[in-house]
């Protein structure tokens, strides 16, 4: 399975892999792009969490809200269960770098692979592929610090990421990493020809137990214009004890 590490902010929130970003004690000075990315990634890893959130999808038909509860463990295990009426009982499990869907009506577990990963999550601007990213941006991308910019009033490092190989969806990304908190404030994903494809904005963050969480994210598919997806986290619990088999396939069907 390809690692689409470039969109891990989206994956983080939707899938419950929230970036648990601790507040850096002091602004980093003279850091290289790799070091900034590494610090950002270090901040994203935490033991366990339970989150409740909403996904607001806006398209030409109007606005839809889907609610969910996400359980996470480490950087690459999560279980998202949708609780809103239309999607109630639908679950997404990520484990061992694989993504599984469970539909309660069909009582069927589907392993997503190949081009099916490119399908949209509930008609949003997020693809299932966006949820498969994990740690290791530097493994997949060459990072270059190309400047500093203010994003929503916050000073950020502007880092260009260029794909090292062909195992990622985006040949180029630009991350705007908060200079003080080392959280991504904005990211841009580009297509092969250099055209802007998607934009992810962190509109709000919250601090809990020394971690800084993005709690309001907006994903804009630039090519589609009128559509957009917002993700809002309403409640977060960190370091909680999770049931032993919660990330097993057996548990997925219960």
């Amino acid at each position: 399975m390809k690692h689409q590490t470039g969109r891990r902010i989206v994956a983080t929130v939707v899938a419950g892999l929230a970036a648990l970003l601790f507040v850096a004690p002091a602004p980093a000075q003279e850091l290289t792009a790799e070091e900034i990315i590494e610090r950002m990634e270090e901040n994203q890893t935490h033991s366990t969490s339970i989150m409740e959130g909403r996904m607001i999808i806006t398209d030409r038909f109007g606005e839809r809200v889907s609610t969910y509860i996400a359980h996470t463990e480490g950087a690459d295990r999560f279980l998202v269960e949708f609780t809103s009426r239309d999607e109630e009982g639908q679950r997404i499990l990520r484990r061992d770098d694989n993504l599984y869907l469970y539909y309660p009506d069909a009582r069927e577990v589907i392993r997503l692979q190949g081009s099916a990963l490119r399908d949209s999550l509930l008609g949003s601007d997020i693809s299932y592929e966006d949820m498969t990213g994990g740690r290791g941006i530097i493994d997949d991308y060459r990072a270059t610090l190309i400047g500093e910019e203010e994003v929503n009033g916050r000073p950020t490092y502007k880092i260009r990421l260029e794909a090292r190989g062909t195992n990622v969806a985006y040949p180029e990304q630009v991350y705007y990493v908060d200079r003080e908190e080392f959280v991504v404030r904005k990211s841009e994903q580009f297509a092969r020809g250099g055209r802007l494809l998607k934009e992810t904005l962190i509109l709000e963050t919250t601090e809990q137990d020394g971690y800084i969480f993005p709690t309001h994210i907006e994903v804009i598919d630039v090519t589609r214009g009128s559509s957009g997806t917002e993700m809002i986290i309403d409640d977060v619990q960190i370091g909680v004890s999770l049931p032993a088999n919660i990330f097993s396939l057996e548990e997925l069907t219960w």
Binding site: G114, F190, R192, G193, L197, T223, G225, S226
Partner: protein, 427 residues
Amino acid sequence: MSARPYRNGRTRGGFFLALAMKNLARHRRRTVITAGAIAVGVAVFIWMFSILQGFEAENDRNMSRYETGDAAIMGSGYWDERDTFPLDMPVEDPEAILSLLEAEEIAAAPRIAFRGDLIVRYDPFPEDGSLQRAFYGIDIERDSRVFALSEAIEAGRFLEPGNEEVIIGRWLADQLGAEVGYPVTVTTRTRDGFYQIMDLEIVGIFNTSNPFINRHKAYLPIAVADEYLEMRGAVTAVYLSLPGMLPADADPGPVRELLSEFDGIEVLGFYRLNEDFAEVMEMENAGTAIILILLGIIAVVGISNTMLMSVLERENEIGMMRALGVRDGEIRWMFTFEAAGIGLIGAIVGLILGALLVWHAVAVGIDYGVLMEIEMDFRFDGVLYGVWHFTSMIAAAVFAVLIAGVVALVPTRRMLRRRITDSLRHS
């Protein structure tokens, strides 16, 4: 039966045959009703068979003319994964293959098939929107040697080599509110999996007799697809037009032999390329066979019943003939001839009626336009045309005659088991 002269110079067989024919005229109403039922059965069978054959032929033709050609050369394993439009199982060196094929005067057309999102925006379109569609990069010059797409342009023009342009189907254009000259954006993935964006102009709208094409597919020049998808000269398939009256009759064997030196490719015949529809057709044919069998049973029961009544009401006559020395076998033949005679009249009338219906089906067709609003896998454009299928017409007529004769045996046998005195007392 004996061949010696029996009466008026006839043989005994000839005499009873003549008597059977005379009986047809004597019981005119019964003859007309039974023959009419047989005629309707034969005509309906002929008509239905013609339509179904026409449907299958039309589907094959539309598949061949717009989607699959008569055969195709693809990367090994590509066909099994075709629904996902993989770009990583291509025919790597299509030009070498095309040179060989062209040297053998085999018409061939390379195509690059990929999936993408067709994105339209308000002004000039009525509203923003996107649809996932299949796109095909086509070799403008070679494509028309295999496919008929270039003949189906309804508005605008066909593609020109190298231009960043696209043509779409009439159905899709109507759904999007698209017109010639409107810009669209296509997002897709390159061969290596990177996102890619293409800005294209709609230069033509086609309307083929294949509704699947009109709804789901869009075409652009192969050079544009090659550049944006970074195919590095590879294509997803090379389609072939092979000699043969119908696509299904085309033989890909010689092409397989010709290309046996090439690794990593396979040559697929029309049956394989059409397997999805073939499965549907098999189910359809099974359903049709059941209907035809039911029709046959109804006809058989009807004829049996009529013949039963006919024989029973003539029990006295049978008794008299037997009393006069006519043999049982001769009586049996007489009734069989009589029933077969009714079958023959019915079959002839049925053939005439059936031929008229088939003529109408071939010339005018049956308009299923309303059904076309429903998404279907069948490749026909709403008007079903029949075909002349003389074998089935003759078979239906012969079957009607035979079955009519055979079903008369049962009641006759029953009558012949009775004693002559009982039969005579019947009156």
